[in-house]
Subunit: 434 residues, 4 copies
Amino acid sequence: MDFSRLSEGWEEELIQFRRQRHQHPENAWTEFLTTSEIIKKLEEYEIPYLFGRQVHTKGERYGVPSEEVLQACMERAVSEGADPKLVEQMRGGYTGVVGILDTGKPGPVTAMRFDIDCNDVGECQDSSHFPAREGFASMHPNLMHACGHDVHTAIGIGMARFLSLYRDQLCGTIKLIFQAAEEGARGGESMAASGLLEDVDYLFGGHVADMTSHLGEFAASTINGSISYKVDLIFKGLSAHAGMAPEKGKNALAAAASAILNLLAISRHSGGRTRVNVGACTAGPGRNVIPDYALLKAEVRGLTEELNEYMFQRMLTVSRAAAEMYDCEFSYRIMGHSIDAPCDKEMVDLAYEAAKETEGVTLMNPSHDMLGGGEDVTFMMREVQKHGGKATFMWLGCDSTAPNHNSCFSITEDVIPLTVRLFGTMVMKLNGIL
Amino acid sequence: MDFSRLSEGWEEELIQFRRQRHQHPENAWTEFLTTSEIIKKLEEYEIPYLFGRQVHTKGERYGVPSEEVLQACMERAVSEGADPKLVEQMRGGYTGVVGILDTGKPGPVTAMRFDIDCNDVGECQDSSHFPAREGFASMHPNLMHACGHDVHTAIGIGMARFLSLYRDQLCGTIKLIFQAAEEGARGGESMAASGLLEDVDYLFGGHVADMTSHLGEFAASTINGSISYKVDLIFKGLSAHAGMAPEKGKNALAAAASAILNLLAISRHSGGRTRVNVGACTAGPGRNVIPDYALLKAEVRGLTEELNEYMFQRMLTVSRAAAEMYDCEFSYRIMGHSIDAPCDKEMVDLAYEAAKETEGVTLMNPSHDMLGGGEDVTFMMREVQKHGGKATFMWLGCDSTAPNHNSCFSITEDVIPLTVRLFGTMVMKLNGIL
Amino acid sequence: MDFSRLSEGWEEELIQFRRQRHQHPENAWTEFLTTSEIIKKLEEYEIPYLFGRQVHTKGERYGVPSEEVLQACMERAVSEGADPKLVEQMRGGYTGVVGILDTGKPGPVTAMRFDIDCNDVGECQDSSHFPAREGFASMHPNLMHACGHDVHTAIGIGMARFLSLYRDQLCGTIKLIFQAAEEGARGGESMAASGLLEDVDYLFGGHVADMTSHLGEFAASTINGSISYKVDLIFKGLSAHAGMAPEKGKNALAAAASAILNLLAISRHSGGRTRVNVGACTAGPGRNVIPDYALLKAEVRGLTEELNEYMFQRMLTVSRAAAEMYDCEFSYRIMGHSIDAPCDKEMVDLAYEAAKETEGVTLMNPSHDMLGGGEDVTFMMREVQKHGGKATFMWLGCDSTAPNHNSCFSITEDVIPLTVRLFGTMVMKLNGIL
Amino acid sequence: MDFSRLSEGWEEELIQFRRQRHQHPENAWTEFLTTSEIIKKLEEYEIPYLFGRQVHTKGERYGVPSEEVLQACMERAVSEGADPKLVEQMRGGYTGVVGILDTGKPGPVTAMRFDIDCNDVGECQDSSHFPAREGFASMHPNLMHACGHDVHTAIGIGMARFLSLYRDQLCGTIKLIFQAAEEGARGGESMAASGLLEDVDYLFGGHVADMTSHLGEFAASTINGSISYKVDLIFKGLSAHAGMAPEKGKNALAAAASAILNLLAISRHSGGRTRVNVGACTAGPGRNVIPDYALLKAEVRGLTEELNEYMFQRMLTVSRAAAEMYDCEFSYRIMGHSIDAPCDKEMVDLAYEAAKETEGVTLMNPSHDMLGGGEDVTFMMREVQKHGGKATFMWLGCDSTAPNHNSCFSITEDVIPLTVRLFGTMVMKLNGIL
């Protein structure tokens, strides 16, 4: 289709916006500046929006940082130009925003989803690294857009511009969901449960890059994503002097060690692939004290939700019993959760149709194998499908220099305008225009 | 004192009796022939007796063998000459017998204790081994008097003969307790709780041999005996095909393995010496099946009863939680229990006095250190002390050829008549005669 | 084809032979009577044979019982009618026999394989159980043909009769391999390496029953069989008194327990299905002794040989290190080994062709999923394929009353003559007759 | 004796010096300001001194902080008034100083030892806490003199003043050892091995406070101190994605967990009290990554050095094998070591004699039971005893408000002048003056 209304320079503008996001990365639940900048753009394009507590569900938000951390991030955001009033409305880590264009004309409700958070990775500052060489590498220590969500955000802004300029041709309602906290599978469930997806007929979105694809190559759906629980396992005991009265202690680290071994020993399952990992442990105040606490950062995965649930229940049983062994108390916090939501054939067909009419799309695969990698868009997809809607999550091929989450990750920015054109075409088709 | 009434040949008779016991050893709760033979002797010496259920307490008998094993042992006893009627009255493993001589004259109630069971050890059949050379080595496979209880039994028979012949000089009541099932600390508690010790004013007994003493050397008391629980830990799970559906199983061996490691890891105690051991494990039906049961033969020990109790409670907590880890059921059986009962100074003084007047006693030490070795006579001692009585457990020195419980264990039989003379003198003193 | 030459009553004769085998089951490496009876039949049908050490390879025989057990089984076999001279030639557990019919005419070498050992299962003696009701239930305690190898043996005898009677029509050489010790995956590798398969052009065989199929339903190949190592893990330590000097011991059971947990904790593999099980444990002499040995009966499995090898190497690493932890010695014995050998399309096609011409075959499936169940015929298949030969292992459907290895396992005996007809047709086709 | 030469106000001066130390606490190997201030005093009293690398041994210094930490502490010390030139000479954490008064007259070599480092404890800032109320609570976050080493330092300065003023009466050589890094048992071994103690005939020192004693009550020796190794156990593995390729990782945390359980399971020892503790664990980079490192902060203790060595060797064996289990690398760092050095009777007698003549000493006990608490003065004592010298370590009773190492720990400052008088009297007696 013809994208001439977007006017000259729109591609550079999106790339510019992406680079600003890359330079100011914000991790899960702290996307204060990012959200504020998205809102500025939505206002510029005259697209109404909801944000803050309006787009979240109390009680479903996993892994929110402490008050102190949130406060520091809010201050950083303001110091970097975020609107203080907006930031204040996001207090508590209620980040993310949903732009909602109601055309006033009868028609379907179409939604697109873009995630906006960064990774806990320090960015390579070597001149061989494109963002460093071009001067837009991360200014935030140990934070980096190493999974392309800055690019996703820019695509979303491109869609806002598109909707704004083609508004008269469109019908129904179109929602642009800028989702907080995708990393760790934390934000999707909260936004999915907010009610904003209840009336959605069509939902789509996509993810860039994974070293296997190239610019112009897309996939109409994704399969084999992670189904997982991320859980903090907490053991509380009682300290005592290890030399003088060890029996007075309740050894939380011994409980945790017992849990680790027996968690890894959870039986393999005939139903298919399962995984369990304890990726980190922090325990004990000091060498000569019976350790009175231990924190394990753990996760389980399953090929199916049933298998994931099996692993999760076994994890709790084992951990609880390990605590009892040492008279310790056990508690846990779910820090992330991802589910399975298969893509709908209708949407795959749509992607194929749109691809044919989008210049620059050289290949459309039926599906992309995520090899167990996670994406919490599935919560939104399930929400839509529950009400009879159709959804897909696509793969947006582009060249990348390093694996996702690596400090040298960098991708072809041309994927931004190309995806805007593909998504724009899909919207037009859903609106019956093409 | 003068032991001439015992008449010539009494020493050889006792040695003969001992050798018969040695040749026909019976282990805990199966002393059918042994009890039957003791009873014959008591009848010969016209000493009334109680036996069977009369001398035991239902519910306190640890580690009784299965019906089948008991039946086979009863049959063996009868085939070896035991009185079938007596054996029938011991059905259920109610072995042991108490001879009770009521002199009819006012006086104290004095009791002596002799244990009668053998060990689960196969006897050396080499001619270098005295019982083998002399032709009285064990005829029962894997059973052997390797801890001298055959000698103790013979001393008891010697005391019966003594009581019988000096009956006119004695006063009060005198009880000869032939205790079943000392090995594994199983019979003492049951006989102690039978009521037979409630009226006892003085209790004593002794043990032979441990490679550190010599014939003629006695100790008036014992210290530092074992305080212990012997416990079978039982894990029940669910079997499943290890290849096709491992997750359907409940892995009792994994639970047991987890228990083992965490039992050994029970914290040391600032209050003093503790011990824990899992000495044996039997688990699982076969290689390719998730094991549905595991049996651990375990024990704990403590320097004090408080420490022993600490270990026991921790053992149960750990084992129960280990079972829960694998959704298994846990149960336990106490197979033995030994407690602490300090010897009374009055009895020590008595032993010293008697030693002076007993020919052949070359040394009387105040106490013998048992180094944590066990003896369940302590249950009887405590019972006596509870009612204000006095008790001691002595050491009966003699030369031995190998450590107790060793298949080459053999001792100087002269300790039998020598101890009869010492004990006889003690009885006389308690009766105010010497 | 026409099987009239087999003459009337041949079906009953085979069933009779099967029932004799069922009544006298012999487990792996003790098939003395079975082999002797097969030889009698081969002689009756004038088919030459090799047996004893001629059909085995020294050093490849896993899990051979002790001399004592073998001796007892040899005596039992003779007492039940085995030819003492034949039995003597099988001393050492060299059971199994290969009938070899050389037609003297040019033609392919065709081999069929039948396994002959029973399971370590006690047979149901209830009248609801067919063999019990008909009076041919197992006379050997804890041994039972609960996996249908008695039926396989009878089919093999049927094939001997067939070869004998149709000898003039056949060409090339035909081998009937009666394999010892299939259970535990122990005999296949030894017979495969004996050289007897080096000239084989076509190999086939089959297995009956698994609750999912019915009489008349066959499958031309099997897939997804077990690839596995069966391993005994042996830990040797040092005993010591658990109360008096525990530190002097080297705790083999603690080493084994540590091994168990860490074996179960071997990482899952991204390459596909793996399994690990410790199915049985025997350890320690007694409760109050630091246990000086532990034996674990373990197995690993993998979807591919590479995965199986990964598990096996990890098993050894973990076990060896667990022993080192406790200053114990570690050794292991491979008790069984099964590999993967895919069925050849040529043979599948042959089975389809034959099925069309065999009365009573109602269904021929392309393949039967063994769901990870094991069969060591794969060693023979690989040997044949190595030399360019073709092989398949088929499924012989029949109705069964209980899962394989269950004490109530019983199947439709009609599968015997039906399979003889199918296999006969296949032989004819391979000989170019049909 | 007469201490009038010390002149009026000396007690207040010492208390003032102690309070400055309390306000500026420095932990092990960072006592730059403390050492600098001690040197100022030694110069004031005209006592020559050695410090820096002269008083330490390369290679014996456990647990020295990183270059960065040392640099920051040096800068803090200078900013708080330390002499930059002195501080520079201590670069590398070579803190501590030894004052050496050579009287030029023949006589024995006498040494006293005072430790100077603080604890890693944040000080109570409540007005109920004496140092807070009086305005000399710690100005350094998370550092506090909570074990009285500030008081020990002040006593040492008092002894310097005493030596200076009574110099003409003294003979031989007198050394004042201000030891760095006593906490964690790290500095004693290094200074002991420096050669400075090779000629010492008499060594003594003491420790204040433990909630059981009162001002005026001393003990002439200490018994039952800790014998211990403090060890960091380091496991290095390989990270991998826990979902996509877990088998590619080498799980350092699983190795550490296995080590923890099996360390706690190290056998109790019949030789007496042993201890083992893993007091802290830090492992793994993140939840979804196979953890590639784990650090355990561990310690072992024994009643005797032999028992301590037994525990240490077992710890290394277990840890090394746990690493091997998971193909990880194991290394360790000794972070502290304390040994046993019994006090000499000659010195105990001396303390008794001196006590009689020291006003304010109300009680002199023969020994103080340290209940397994540690003191690395033992390295110096052993060094002295090796060369035939005599040594003791005394207890300096005083009232305290809380247990040692507690954030509310505060003691009676009067113990400073009282101990100076007692130690002065001891010196006089060793010099043959009293």
